[in-house]
Symmetry: C2
Subunit: 108 residues, 2 copies
DNA sequence: TATTAGGCTCACAATTTTGTTCGTCATTGT
DNA sequence: ACAATGACGAACAAAATTGTGAGCCTAATA
């Protein structure tokens, strides 16, 4: 979906190199991402729980954001044994937990 | 440019209400914004200085980002007297300065 | 007289991000 | 037999963000 050689992407890469700051921001700047992160940190770590917290989000959009968070190693998916259909828990990685206090900081 | 009633905008507003966090992030999540802010805080507070710091940015894009930062009252434009053509200085507001330590935090 | 400096703006095109609709899978309750 | 649950994925459409090309203004300077 991303064009390797668009000016857009090239500029983005440039900024990522200038300072980690820019990549850090891009990790949390998706539409629902910071809220999802925060919700998970509060214990709403299941797909259906997140849907309750974010009433207007569609399944597809939520799934997409979760996958991106996973790709960026901010969360990890874990199957819950002996559940049918198989339940999945989302767990923050160390990287993910590091973001939480910063997010809280931004609330002020 | 923004459609008042798009789902996109509505969801954005919803998030803004849930927590300041989300509006704070949207303030700094434009392509060059955080870097511009940081540069200004370091003393690169003129249009042409910013262009040196951000080699690939075009005049138009830089101008646009600066205007948005101004609209969000993160920076203020100030004319420098007795200059021809009239020079402009960008100055961080209190709100702007508050963001700097958070940005620095994100570098880690 | 042509150029430069400093700071922009407009209109439009390219890219990206968000949202929408529909479908899937395996099993349990009705 | 059929809906419901939990957790998505594909394909496409709508909207938003970024980038591009060209132009404008004033006064000093080459």
């Amino acid at each position: 979906m991303r064009k390797e050689n668009s000016s857009n992407t090239i500029n983005e890469q440039f900024l990522f190199q200038v300072c980690e700051l820019n990549s850090a921001i891009s990790l949390i700047s998706g539409r629902w991402k910071s809220q999802i992160l925060y919700s998970i940190s509060q214990g709403n770590n299941r797909f259906h729980l997140l849907k309750k917290e974010l009433p207007n989000i569609s399944d597809q959009v939520l799934g997409r954001q979760l996958k991106e968070l996973e790709t960026d190693t901010i969360i990890i998916k874990k199957k819950i044994p002996n559940t049918v259909p198989v339940g999945i828990e989302y767990i923050l990685t160390v990287k993910g937990w590091n973001l939480i206090p910063i997010l809280e900081n931004l609330c002020n």
